[in-house]
């Protein structure tokens, strides 16, 4: 219950779910990279993740919960924070004391959420449809062609790249911010911030690279 009422408990929950999603991103990017390195590996990894009971019925629901929790809590906090200042300032100089990224987590977050809708439409729904609704026979080779098919479209590739930029901005503040929320502000914080910022750029850049690569080879 405390999670629903106390500001700090919410903040800690936001940080923990955020860190979990950050870790998931890395895993996702590494799997995607195999599509560049070796499509066969990509196919077999995809097949494994799509059919292994542990991944499907334990990890996937946990991931979904993590996403939904982070999103819903983010929106709840945003509403509460807006109510904390009902009358706005006439003159407000946010950039004098804080970064754009830190002040616009809801904006970058919503952009990522919109992208997530497209992403599920592109990959998750067709997969569920294929496996559970049409109950097609197993086909170990179908994943890579489906991926190529999606990234043949320049508009879609562009939208994906743009979304990764928003992801970058979101992570730039969010990843290091999670440590502060958990109470980690000490002599290691500079190093942590350095690492989180590197991560915030490197991982989305990896995704962009993969998307462009898949588009350009066709």
């Amino acid at each position: 219950m405390a999670i629903l009422t106390s500001s700090i408990a919410r903040k800690v929950a936001m940080a923990l779910s955020g860190l979990f999603l950050v870790f998931f991103l890395l895993q996702h990017m590494v799997v995607n990279l195999t599509a560049v390195i070796n499509p066969e590996t990509y196919n077999s990894l995809s097949h494994f993740m799509g059919n292994d009971g542990f991944v499907q019925f334990l990890l996937q629901p946990i991931l979904m919960f993590g996403f939904i929790f982070h999103i819903v809590m983010g929106i709840v906090l945003e509403i509460r924070n807006n109510n904390a200042r009902k009358i706005k300032y006439n003159t407000y100089k946010g950039n004098r004391n804080s970064s754009w990224m830190s002040r616009n987590m809801i904006v970058t977050g919503i952009m990522i959420l919109l992208f997530l809708g497209l992403h599920l439409y592109d990959f998750w729904f067709p997969e569920i449809n294929y496996k559970y609704i049409e109950t097609n026979p197993l086909d170990l080779e179908r994943y890579y062609p489906h991926l190529l098919d999606k990234f043949a479209d320049p508009v879609r590739t562009g939208i994906y790249c743009l979304a990764f930029i928003f992801l970058m901005l979101h992570l730039w503040h969010g990843f290091s911010s999670a440590f502060q929320s958990l109470g980690w502000n000490n002599k290691y914080s500079r190093a942590i911030r350095g690492f989180t910022r590197f991560y915030a750029v490197a991982v989305p850049f990896g995704f962009i690279f993969i998307a462009l690569y898949l588009y350009l080879i066709q």
């Binding site: 903040k11 109510n83 009902k86 003159t91 004098r96 970064s99 000490n186």
Partner: protein, 255 residues
């Protein structure tokens, strides 16, 4: 110096306020910002107009009474400076200065630029103290050893004057910098550790009840704080709160 002041005027808590523009002349660089407002008020009184109400007391940067959002920044453009210590040399001839009250739902405007900051007092009352018996058997302060580092840190936190600039600066109007400073100043000292669990839980609960926003770690508060209170305090509070919430249900307290 010739200036144009754009000041928020509001009759009382319930009335709708608005900005009024006042030209002012003859301002010197070594006047303080509040002196400048004093001069404006004298002029207004001479013209049979209502003077601008603003908060002030010590005028030496230690009481935390002065406030004001000046050109979009609490306590104006200078770092580590309260409004009473802000000099007019920080502005230049011909400037337009927008002066607003601190804005937060938990800091309602009472009149013009004066806001009600008693929400801060209620947070303090919820646990910002140590229970000591002072009836004739006071113990020598030096009887309890405190290491220098903790003593200094505690002193730094205790430098918070409760002005509310952190709330005013925060895009979420969060009071976490203030609350965490008030928690830290005790939690670092042995005397404060005894009631630490209850203190952090009660003060944070009061902070939330007052309607302050949630901290999103933008860091605006520590930049604008006239007393240099840092985010380290908030991290400490988060840590203590998390530990206290886990510990409380296991303790044998009945409250």
């Amino acid at each position: 110096m010739k200036l144009t002041l754009k000041i928020w005027r509001q009759k009382n808590k319930d009335s709708k306020g608005e900005f009024k523009v006042y030209p002012i002349d003859g301002i010197e660089g070594d006047m303080s910002f509040l002196e400048m407002l004093d001069i404006l008020n004298e002029q207004l009184i001479n013209n049979n107009e209502e003077p601008v109400h603003f908060d002030h007391d010590c005028r030496e940067g230690i009481c935390g009474t002065c406030s004001l959002q000046i050109n979009g920044q609490p306590h104006g453009p200078d770092r580590l400076t309260t409004t009473c210590h802000l000099h007019m040399r920080s502005f230049s001839d011909g400037d337009t200065i927008v002066i607003e009250p601190f804005r937060a739902t938990a800091f309602p405007v009472i009149r013009d630029l004066v806001v009600d900051r008693s929400s801060f007092e209620r947070i303090q009352q919820a646990g910002g103290y140590v229970s000591v018996n002072t009836s004739g058997n006071t113990i020598d302060a030096n009887a309890i050893p405190v290491n220098k580092h903790d003593a200094d840190e505690s002193f730094n936190s205790a430098a918070c004057i409760g002005c509310g600039a952190c709330v005013a600066a925060c895009k979420n109007a969060s009071a976490m910098l203030f609350t965490s400073a008030k928690i830290s100043q005790y939690s670092l000292l042995p005397q404060g550790k005894i009631e630490a669990t209850e203190r952090v839980l009660n003060m944070v609960r009061q902070m939330d009840e007052e309607g302050f926003g949630n901290c999103t770690n933008t860091g605006a508060c520590e930049i604008e704080c006239p007393k240099g209170i840092t985010l380290v305090n908030i991290a400490r509070m988060n840590r203590e709160y998390t530990a206290a919430s886990l510990k409380k249900p296991l303790s044998n307290s009945w409250s």
